[in-house]
């Protein structure tokens, strides 16, 4: 899972994109995202890809590691592409490329914006209960990912995992997941007690550091707006 890697990147990155105002960045990325969805030509998609490569470079995001995640939507979009390919191969290819580009825009956003800023944005229109669940999920994820990492290491050291022995893997992974499920439920009870002691009454206050709007923010959002207008005109 790359979430831990991306979380580290978004919190500790020092690039020009990291330093931008989060709300402006979210709005600008939304413009890029819409531009991707509206792209109708392979040339337009290629230009957008080049723009994303440039933005990844600017944001000091390792394209080979983070960009690899865009291959998942590309793979899943193959289903749709296979249907469209019967009508026109360009349309089929465009579906795959568009899915990957849409993923790249979101990956760029989360690789340069700390999770609390994104959650703060969600808190503007989502019910507090869902925001709390998002926060608990994020917190629990990093605890559980450590636990499962240790359990997997243990089981590999004891010879319980072989790349070619599917039956052994399934049996042992099921045991690991069973233990993890137990620990998850115990952890949620512990979390509840800890939060109650800290005064939790069913709502976590989401605060953020107030940022001003710099010239870079304005340049970036205008740049994204030009791209969107360009895509619409073309």
């Amino acid at each position: 899972m790359y979430l831990a890697f991306i979380d580290n990147l978004s919190n500790n990155g020092t690039s020009i994109i990291h330093d931008m105002n989060s709300i402006i960045k979210l709005l600008a990325t939304s413009l890029l995202f819409i531009a991707v969805l509206l792209t109708d030509t392979l040339i337009g998609a290629t230009i957008l890809f080049i723009i994303f490569v440039f933005l990844f470079k600017l944001g000091q995001i390792p394209l080979a590691t983070v960009g690899r995640l865009a291959l998942y939507p590309a793979f899943f979009s193959l289903l749709f592409a296979l249907i469209k390919i019967g009508q026109s191969w360009q349309e089929g290819l465009l579906i795959v490329v568009r899915s990957a580009l849409a993923a790249l825009s979101l990956l760029m956003l989360i690789s340069t914006t700390p999770y609390n800023e994104i959650i703060y944005f969600f808190s503007m229109f989502m019910p507090p209960l869902l925001i709390d669940i998002l926060i608990f999920t994020y917190r629990a994820f990093f605890i559980l990912v450590d636990q499962i990492g240790n359990m997997l290491r243990n089981i590999k050291l004891r010879g319980g995992y072989h790349r070619k022995n599917l039956f052994l893997n399934i049996k042992n992974m099921a045991s690991i997941l069973g233990v993890l499920m137990l620990r998850t439920i115990e952890m949620s009870e512990r979390m509840y007690l800890i939060y109650t002691l800290r005064g939790y009454d069913g709502e976590i206050n989401v605060n953020r550091y107030e940022e001003g709007i710099s010239l870079t923010d304005i340049v970036f959002i205008v740049f994204c707006l030009i791209i969107l207008v360009g895509v619409i005109i073309i």
């Binding site: 995202f33 969805l37 249907i83 979101l106 559980l144 790349r163 893997n169």
Partner: protein, 224 residues
């Protein structure tokens, strides 16, 4: 989960379907959040968060040479019930959308499809445990829930792409025709393997939990 996370950009022409997906999910979420007991809500939120995290973590468990990951949506439905399970699926889909797994415009429709898996898995398990052992019941409930959610996913795919004409008739070009059929066959095989694997793993986990903490999977007991 059905393992077909519909990505962004494929349902552009079927925007109405995305709107319906969001509407269905939001209506479900609205009623679930309203029904949560105010006194219990503080306890259930960490549980829902932890279960969502568990679903996310499960995806990183390797199974060897098979390019496939587990999701355990049906199992979560069995253990925590359909309401918290549905919330968990929504949160997981939202986080995954940012990771390129699924899409932000299709969070609604993906949640609705996988939410059905949670609901059906939960209800069928309750029904089957009256007759059969828990492990057998969970395997069958998961298998049927996955078949249903996969069928709905394929229905959505046909709605998004316009009709089934493209796959049934296709183009007159034989090479493209062959590519379409062989591609679909490969997808069906991968999905079939995935459904069987997830059902077996769910059954093994339920069997394990029956031994160490039976109240979690016992339908005669009250839910967590």
């Amino acid at each position: 989960m059905s393992h077909i996370h519909i990505p962004d950009g494929v349902a552009r022409d079927a925007w109405w379907l995305l709107v319906i997906g969001f509407a269905v999910t939001l209506i479900f979420l609205f009623f679930i959040l309203r029904r949560l007991d105010r006194e219990q809500v503080g306890k259930k939120i960490p549980l829902a968060g932890s279960i969502s995290a568990m679903m996310l973590v499960t995806m990183s468990v390797p199974l060897g040479f098979i390019p496939f990951h587990l999701n355990l949506a049906s199992l979560c439905g069995i253990i925590v019930g359909p309401e918290l399970g549905f919330i968990g699926v929504f949160v997981v889909n939202l986080i995954l959308a940012f990771m390129g797994h699924g899409g932000i415009t299709v969070v609604g429709i993906n949640t609705a499809i996988i939410g059905i898996e949670v609901l059906v898995g939960n209800k069928l398990y309750g029904l089957f445990t009256k007759k059969w052992k828990r492990s057998m019941s969970s395997a069958l409930a998961t298998f049927l829930a996955l078949i249903l959610s996969t069928a709905i996913t394929f229905g959505v795919i046909f709605l998004i792409t316009g009709s089934s004409d493209a796959i049934l008739q296709g183009h007159h070009d034989e090479a493209i025709h062959f590519l379409s059929y062989s591609g679909w066959l490969a997808i069906v095989i991968v999905l079939a393997i995935g459904i069987i694997l997830e059902s077996v793993v769910t059954s093994l986990i339920v069997s394990f939990l029956s031994k160490v903490k039976p109240e979690l999977v016992d339908r005669s007991e009250k839910h967590v």
